[in-house]
């Protein structure tokens, strides 16, 4: 009857649709190259971000390797831009114990999580090799958890202090000095003194830790079991500085919704006298290139290392990426070889430096390419004792959340400093204790 015919018709359509399981993709039309099965020795490197794009720095590194190692070529699988999304996509594959990825581009804070879940292969055997090649100790620290090495440092990063050379004569070395000169310079031009990352997100945690480390404080102890936030005066000093800055107007209006891009937009349009931001923004502020076409401070941007609270040296919070090897990969040995090579080979590291990505081996900092002052500055930061890293604990996200909530509330004047620090201390201990 008619109803049955219609039902059958619908089912037929559905079946037809299901057989069209997926459409064609660009690789198909170029003759089945690209995707398909992994060649005998092909290694898949899952990494994201701006440099992972076609023709980007990471691809140049793999091309260098592929020339010298044609039997185990590395292919990049491009992950989304945001670090959180990269972690999600890697976690999906790793949790399923799949071998789709051999190499993983790991943000420095994921080491503990990946290690505890048994997702990555140990590099403890290669530690000597890395140390001999001159990998910076700070970078090495971010790749280890519970005294075991789980990844190879690949590139590093640290925040810098940008300032307007037409408004400020000498770069400040302490935060008190910074407040003075930035406010004076800003008043002269009728703009805001300082922009940074103050929104309630991970970037604000980095800013806060830079203040903390600059006061010679520490977040947690070496073993990763206890919070050191209330030890000494550093925590208090750091947080009180933030509270003061927000209340006095040292921080620009809207500081508490700013991320990296908002801060640089303000600075490059000439609306801020000083800025804390990552080295990668230098290219869009200074110079003749296409990148800096929209910059209004091309000739008046200076950059230096971050001020501290102790008038000695500098400080920073190391960022960057490590390379881990999927424990379930079918080519663990070949993958480990590539990882070690990428992190220690001078040519590869200088490639990164040429693209303004701070390298991780000491020797690269002696041969830095001309024209980019930021790399040298990062080298200074990484060499300073006060520079630390966010602990790559498995529960880092919980800790980060606790810092975000408590510090944000405190510096916006919603919660008193003492209360915020005590609550935060407790929450960190809970997160570590589990």
């Amino acid at each position: 009857m008619k109803s049955r015919r219609h039902v059958l018709a619908t089912l037929a359509v559905l079946t037809l649709l299901s057989t069209a399981c997926s459409g064609s993709s660009p690789e198909d039309s170029t003759g089945g190259g690209g995707e398909g099965e992994q060649g005998g020795g092909e290694l898949v490197w899952a990494i994201g971000g701006a440099e992972a794009a076609v023709g980007g720095l990471h691809q140049q590194v793999t091309e260098l390797w592929n020339e010298q190692n044609p039997d185990s070529p590395v292919r990049i699988e491009i992950l989304p831009d945001a670090a959180d999304e990269q972690r999600n996509q890697q976690a999906l594959v790793l949790q399923a114990q799949d071998s789709e990825f051999d190499l993983l581009g790991m943000d420095v804070i994921w080491t503990g999580e990946y290690a505890t879940n048994g997702w990555v292969a140990s590099f403890e055997e290669e530690r000597g090799q890395l140390e001999d090649a001159g990998v910076l100790p700070g970078a090495l620290e971010s790749a280890q958890w519970e005294e075991e090495l789980w990844a190879v440092p690949y590139n590093s990063n640290a925040g810098l202090f940008y300032y307007r050379t037409d408004l400020i004569e000498a770069a400040p070395t302490t935060w008190d000095e910074a407040v003075e000169v930035c406010t004076a310079g800003a008043e002269e031009a009728g703009i805001a003194p300082f922009v940074g990352q103050g929104a309630q997100y991970e970037g604000m945690v980095v800013n806060f830790l830079e203040y903390l480390f600059g006061a010679e404080g520490q977040l947690i102890n070496e073993e990763g079991t206890e919070s050191l936030l209330l030890e000494g005066d550093a925590g208090r000093q750091a947080l009180e500085f933030m509270v003061q800055s927000q209340a006095d107007g040292f921080y620009a209006p809207g500081f508490n919704t700013m991320q990296e891009n908002e801060a640089v937009a303000e600075f490059q349009s000439g609306s801020a006298a000083c800025m804390r931001n990552w080295p990668s923004f230098y290219a869009q502020l200074v110079g003749e290139g296409e990148q800096a076409a929209s910059s209004e401070v091309q000739d008046s941007t200076g950059v230096t290392t971050l001020p501290t609270f102790v008038d000695e040296g500098t400080t920073g919070v190391t960022g960057g990426f490590n390379i881990g090897v999927n424990a379930f990969s079918e080519n663990v040995d070949a993958a480990k070889e590539f990882a070690v090579w990428a992190g220690t080979n001078e040519e590869a590291q200088l490639l990164l430096a040429g693209g303004s990505l701070p390298p991780v081996i000491a020797s690269a900092y002696d041969e830095l390419p001309e024209g980019d002052p930021t790399l040298g500055l990062v080298g200074d930061v990484l060499a300073d004792e006060k520079t630390g890293s966010r602990p790559p604990a498995p529960t880092w996200n919980a800790i980060s959340q606790a810092i975000q909530q408590n510090i944000f509330a405190a510096y916006n004047g919603e919660v008193p400093v003492e209360e915020a620090l005590t609550t935060l201390n407790d929450e960190i201990n809970t997160a570590l204790g589990g």
């Binding site: 109803s3 990148q291 076409a293």
Partner: protein, 307 residues
Amino acid sequence: MTTAPAPTGESVRRAEPATRRRQGRSTGPVARDTAGRRIGKSALLLVIFLWCLFPFVWLISTSLKNSTGALNSPNIFEGPFGLQNYVAVFEQDFFFNLRNSAIVAGTTMVVCIVIGSFAAYALARLRFKNKVLLLSGVLAVSLFPPVALVPPLYEVWRTIGLLNTYPGLYIPYIAFNLPLTIFILVTFFGTIPQEMEEAARVDGASPFQAFYRVVLPLAAPGVFAAAILIFVYAWNEFLLASTFAPRDLAVQTVPVAIASFTGAVAFQRPIGSITAACVIVTIPMIILVLIFQRRIIAGLTAGGVKG
């Protein structure tokens, strides 16, 4: 079904197809032609246009600017304009993403409407037990936070091999959109008087023919409204798409592709490419809406009530 004669002194009627009036279709309240009202209405229209379009104008203006400079100043009309972002977007194989989204959204819409209408008809017209329970169950399905459903679904999909396939996307989309479809259609079927179908049955039509020839055309506004809503949902859905088809260009949909745009260097937000892609994506949607909105108003003029 004849209309009452217009009382004298009434305002001028605009011409409407006489057939629609015969079917009892609403033509809406008639506009009075006084100048005051016309100015008032124009002003109202202007406000509405501004309200709806201002963000869209911002979108277009930003998409024509350089990524790094787009947010320099709060002036929409300032700055060098150019098409470089659009070029960049298409260089990233955006055509494939558009095609994928169209296929997935289209399939979802068609299947949802088809099997949803059957279920809605059953709930609205046929007699059987536990309707309220079924209705509540139908609603409940769409209420669980999807983010919590994704990890187990991913496992199942991976085992069955539905990752990076079209069915892997449109099957969950259909399941999550059926509740809304069924609810919309049930309420629209419910507004149609039973007499219409009885008349058709008396004329010798089977229950299914009565449904197909009588009820469905009269419920057309609801059907097309539901169709647009389903299509837009499937077109813009991100969470499931980014989990089940994250990188394979053969299946990757538009929102996932947009999320994978990068700036020139680390931390930079490619606002130019993102807004350009969004404009590209919105245009087919607007065309679709322009077509469908006429359907919602006009309905189907063929078929309809006999006698």
